[in-house]
Symmetry: C2
Subunit: 512 residues, 2 copies
């Protein structure tokens, strides 16, 4: 592995391998009550809240707003306290005129009207049924997100003299070489004890057709782009594996016009319950209720809110710095949970040269440079005028939280990030990349003051030790958010966690 | 191979294999002047037609209308004669209220407003640049066509007790089993003379990650859906190979609302030049010009049209039955060209159960039954109300022109076709398929009187013997259409052939 291999792919594969496979993962989710694809059967049917029962929700991201939406329907009086001056949390889209405020820098986004960057979540898998359900319920228009584009590229510094190759060519080469070798081994009798005579014959037929081998069972020169060595150097199997991963499979979706249309749809239901610009400083509970102390970040005024119950969606990175009255085990869980790091950089180009000049419509070109990948927009194909492509997306969580690409880029000023993204991305489109560049914007999640990281980076060990303590109902307090789910780093996790938390809370409130 | 394996996949792979690979095919196209993806550089710059020069075009399909469009721009006086009562040819979409007239049957389509079936072409590859260009030039709105859906299914009568499997599971199993076997052979030293020590180590790493093998280099039980035998029985490598085929790769497009929007866009430019309901009975030429005799199919009246030059896009199946004054070699080529067969069946269902109940958004479920596949609509995802899915698409051309599925279905009455499609497709959606069915429509191309087949089914041998004779400029006559291209059965071929034909015609006309 090179240092800068995009970790999403290997991290996911490693995680699956360690956990005993996707089936084991799903089993774990089922056992723990956090839904896999088939478990979401519609929104919770919460009814019969005790008259006057009040719930305080901390954080107006998707988890917090969904909790408020469903608890209000159930009859609770809900208030949300939100640190930022907007709702949505990581469900976030930046457009021309927006300001991005990181620790140490401020950017004014220059994109043309209609163009945008989704710094956080940007794609919805077909099996994320909770997100898809609420998009339908709240009227969020979804369009196709192009995930697997055979005509996008793969770049490795060590292969083909550093020249990027089309994924389709590498893919055909990979299966051609693998098929030729397996056929050779089969014909040499090397696997005669491992497979039956009948399966051997079928395997040879499979290798011939799948690998497009010739009559001599050789991967033909006429098809070949590179040697076995070239193919192996690109590590294209990581890309092939990436596309096969359950969370990365086709068909995928995106909200038309920006991911924040989901957050806005929730906000249309609950914005009147939200107090913005509110920094929580202390969370206390006793037998009678919960009390939250806060400071208004605009006026500096201190305040206090109370309720019967509390749903806290504050990220663990920030929650760990707040005085919270919960069990020591839960405090330990909050402190034990590391967050992954990620940087996204949007680059607005004068025209869609990747479409017109390269016949690339959506999808990703991967590289082992720090930017990890560049990704082409799925919306407005064939459009005229400027368009925004994703110029970097290094990502690290879980077993591989320390993506050097993410740390390198987040350590840079926004200006230097853009320069690095332009330099590295030029490998794919050397003639156009810098020449067509108009403006850029970036978000380094570890520098966003309201979260200080990208998303929860559970490892198998930390999950085994702390997960149940994190999600348990503690007196009158329950936590929710992607960090409290088995779908870490996905909106689906935030929503499932929220539904799970409020269902348990409602059960206790009803029993009380 | 079972009798009813959908032939598209194996036929394409076989063709590539026989021709020496895709590279060889492209080389052939380049040499012969028929463009591969990189050759289309914009529309032809034909200028300076001799004042008053007239061109007669036979057939108002895409090839004929493009010829008329570009020749008119070049200054020629153009007339088109069309047999049918509509323009478009195989660029054809049927909707509620339409009548489908085959030899021996008539169907009235019952689909709800907005629903449709594309009986002919239905998807546009990203590298079909001529089609994409004219869609842009003529303002045809394109949307994504979901080609590869990991969550769609594969069914084989002989595997898994006839129970369909999700493609994603079979795919993961396939690579798991293949990786485990190759790793075993590598570790046994069976390939030590074939690969270097360094490549062997890399290959083992590749097998471990690509196949998601455990530390013992075994494909884990936790991931496995079926045994090696199960996996081989499904012949899933054919599906994997299908998706890797150049013409079948992602990203693909479709005109929003129906393929005929392309034909209608051309018709908006040239419809005033078209004489409909005109059956050509004789094509003659001499040193002075061309003369075409015809009969008006509505009035029975005979007529004659003359011009300086002729572009004939009449399919070879029909042209072979007309008295045509061309060389014996061209007549032999016309007669030597067999046509493939295909049937498409559209089934309107009350609701999108494949989306709501199966999380299948677009893509194809393959079967080795005569229907070949069913395909889910790419447009209007999450829509409420009735939707049309493709209930059958057996297809045979080229080296495998005799798809039994196509012949079996086309031999049936439209009613029996629907019954067969419902019966066979139920294997994928047993509880819903018949229960949700509203109405259906089908087109058996061999029974369409104006073409008597689906599209040209060149073999390598027939192409070697006859292709150049078919496309050569013969006096004042040139043929055009998908059958005169290396992109047989694709609209791209029809358009490229047309551009090639009129460019050569214009050269001769200018020199004359």
């Amino acid at each position: 592995m090179t240092d800068f291999t995009p970790p999403t792919r290997r991290q996911l594969l490693t995680m699956i391998g360690k956990a005993g496979g996707a089936a084991a993962l799903y089993q774990a989710m089922t056992v723990l009550g956090h839904a896999a694809e088939s478990q979401f059967r519609g929104p919770p049917q919460l009814t019969g809240a005790r008259p006057g029962a009040r719930v305080l929700v901390l954080g107006a991201g998707l988890a917090g707003m969904l909790a408020a939406y469903e608890l209000t329907k159930a009859g609770y009086a809900v208030q949300i306290l939100e640190f930022q001056d907007r709702t949505g949390g990581r469900n976030y889209t930046v457009r021309g005129g927006d300001t991005i405020t990181e620790l140490g820098s401020t950017q004014k986004v220059q994109f043309a009207p209609g163009n945008y960057l989704n710094p956080g979540p940007w794609r919805l898998p077909y099996h994320h049924r909770t997100v898809l359900h609420y998009c339908q319920e709240l009227g969020v228009e979804l369009e196709h997100f192009a995930q697997l584009n055979h005509n996008a590229m793969v770049h490795s510094k060590d292969a083909y003299g550093g020249k990027p190759q089309r994924y389709r060519d590498l893919y055909v080469d990979y299966k051609g070489h693998v098929a030729e070798l397996l056929a050779k081994a089969l014909n040499a009798g090397a696997l005669d004890t491992a497979v039956t005579v009948e399966d051997k014959a079928r395997l040879l037929e499979a290798m011939r057709e799948w690998g497009v081998l010739d009559k001599a069972m050789t991967y033909s020169k006429g098809l070949k782009v590179g040697t076995l060595r070239d193919t192996l150097q690109t590590k294209v199997w990581e890309t092939i594996g990436f596309y096969a991963d359950h969370t990365m499979q086709t068909t995928m979706f995106q909200p038309k016009g920006g991911m924040d249309h989901i957050g806005k749809a929730f906000a249309a239901k609950v914005a009147h319950l939200v107090r913005l610009n509110t920094r929580v400083t202390r969370i206390a509970q006793d037998h009678a209720g919960v009390t939250v102390n806060w400071t208004d970040t605009q006026t500096g005024a201190a305040g206090q809110s109370s309720a019967d119950w509390l749903v806290c969606t504050i990220p663990a990175t920030v929650l760990g710095q707040i005085d919270v009255q919960v069990s020591d085990a839960k405090k330990a869980a909050i402190r034990a949970l590391p967050y992954g790091n990620s940087v996204k950089i949007g680059l607005e180009m004068k025209r869609r040269f990747w479409e017109t000049d390269y016949a690339i419509y959506g999808g990703h070109s991967f590289t082992d440079q720090p930017i990890g990948l560049i990704s082409y927009p799925s919306g407005n194909w064939f459009g005229k005028g400027p368009a925004v492509l994703l110029g970097a997306y290094p990502f690290g969580t879980g077993d591989n939280p320390f993506s050097l690409g993410g740390y390198m880029l987040s350590a840079m000023s926004p200006e230097k990030r853009l320069a690095a993204a332009l330099e590295q991305g030029s490998v794919f489109h050397p003639a156009e990349y810098k020449a067509e560049f108009l403006s850029g914007a970036s978000v380094a999640w570890s520098r966003m003051p309201w979260i200080l990281g990208c998303c929860a980076a559970w490892t198998e060990d930390s999950r085994a030790a702390h997960y149940q303590n994190l999600v348990s109902l503690d007196g009158r307090v329950v936590l929710a958010g992607e960090h409290c789910s088995y779908y870490g780093c996905w909106q689906e996790g935030a929503l499932l966690s929220s539904l799970d938390a409020i269902t348990r809370l409602h059960q206790r409130a009803s029993a009380a």
